[in-house]
Symmetry: C2
Subunit: 251 residues, 2 copies
DNA sequence: CAGAGTGTCCGATATAATCGGACAAGGCCC
DNA sequence: GGGCCTTGTCCGATTATATCGGACACTCTG
């Protein structure tokens, strides 16, 4: 691991919705580096477009990140194949649809379509990350990972509690994942937010591997009314996308 | 400039729509580095999420770029203030609206709304970059930059020709920019693509500085029919956004 | 089964990131 | 307005670190 790159990674990690702007000194303090080294690092990142220097000599994230992000999304065929299917699903149910992949220990939203109902679920945006153990998407992605990978993720990320329904016992989670794999879908019954339910299903590529998951998010009162129908819609969509990606597995 | 960061920048620049996947050796050849050093660099970037290692040990861009990009967009108040105004404009004219900032030598799309007419303009996506000298957005952004900055940009990026209307003479461009600044808007009369016209206007922030530009893209036949109306719409929108950002300048 | 291709790992060397300090510029209070 | 505090930037010596060539394991191909 190159230390300079590591430092750059830590530096970029400082930027979030609540801390959009940083000065050299603040970063130096946070990263426990000399102010001069920090300046070298930040100036370099700014020159390359990863950071943006304001008039007051403070720093924000740079537009090159947007360009790179768009390149990634444009070249991910998963997204290209999934999007029209997601649109069909959104049209049919008028609920919020998400597409996610597993990245390190968490699920990352890769695409999203918002429902148009009056009461709708709207929490997250593209690129947002979710704990895997308490989201339907995350649990599906875990269910198709190796047991040692799941254990590694639990080890690193833990199983923090968000609601009274969150699964916090490793053994219970592992049992749950086996069931999900057998069924081919996962529920999130208010495990991350009260009043929010989701159902997710796995997307396979041409090698048969599960590379992503698709989900529908629905307010609890609406979800419990027609759970089976939502589930079948999501599973049908997941299978359609898998086929488009060259998967010819079961059914 | 830290060399390691510089190398990381060059490496990430290799990834585009036509080259979404790279192996260690290919990158080493391209960057004229030893394969082992290249491996160290790529492995580090991958560990931090900036690259994604495929099963076949090749590398793609990593999802963390999407997360960072979203953070940037979410924390840019320009975008927050501009979006609703862009929506109004899109509703009224049903044409494609762009929001862009100047990044280094080029204009970068920061937000976009697509028109819903049958024949519409659809070339670019969020984060895409445009030469400044041949787009309405770019010319507006240049017009409010210092002359030395404009000269620097011409020096580095050049004035490549795309259509017979493209301005390729530095002196002519500089004269054009003075006029644009005086008028408060810029046209792109098929200077980058035949049959595509645009009109753009500057967005000021609370310090009076021009920090962005907004544009409307219209097929040439439609544009020439009601040029003045399109122009006034865009200029009105630009002024509304500027006011929202705290600008109390002229009119 | 041999060969050429790949990515990965290792240890010595020389380069490059680091640090402390000095400087300049801006804001603020008395 | 002058002094004081803060900020970011620059510089040169030192030490830590990225670099390189080579060896290895692996996969695919002929």
């Amino acid at each position: 691991m190159l230390q300079t790159i590591q430092k750059a990674g830590e530096l970029l990690a400082l930027f979030d919705r609540d801390h959009a702007e940083w000065g050299v000194r603040e970063v130096a303090a946070q990263l426990k580096m000399a102010k001069s080294s920090t300046h070298d690092l930040m100036a370099s990142l700014a020159k390359l477009g990863f950071l943006n220097k304001t008039e007051e000599n403070r720093y924000r994230l740079g537009w090159r990140l947007v360009t790179l992000s768009e390149t990634l999304l444009a070249t991910t065929e998963l997204r290209k194949e999934a999007h029209p299917v997601m649109e069909d699903l959104a049209t049919q149910y008028q609920e919020t649809i998400h597409l996610a992949v597993l990245d390190d220990t968490q699920a990352v939203y890769v695409d999203k379509l918002e429902g148009r109902q009056a009461v709708r679920v709207e929490l997250t945006s593209l690129g947002a990350r979710l704990y895997a153990h308490c989201s339907a998407l995350g649990k599906v992605l875990l269910a198709y990972s190796s047991e040692q990978e799941v254990k590694r993720i639990i080890q690193i990320a833990g199983l923090p509690r968000f609601t009274e329904n969150t699964i916090t016992d490793p053994e219970e989670l592992l049992q749950n994942l086996i069931k999900i794999r057998k069924q081919g879908f996962a529920y999130d019954m208010e495990e991350i937010l009260p009043d929010l339910c989701c159902v997710a299903a796995p997307i396979h590529n041409y090698t048969g591997q599960v590379i992503a998951a698709i989900s529908m998010s629905i307010p609890a009162y609406r979800f419990k009314r027609s759970q089976t129908e939502f589930r079948e819609g999501v599973m049908r969509a997941a299978k359609t996308i898998s086929k488009r990606l060259g998967y010819y597995g079961s059914s």
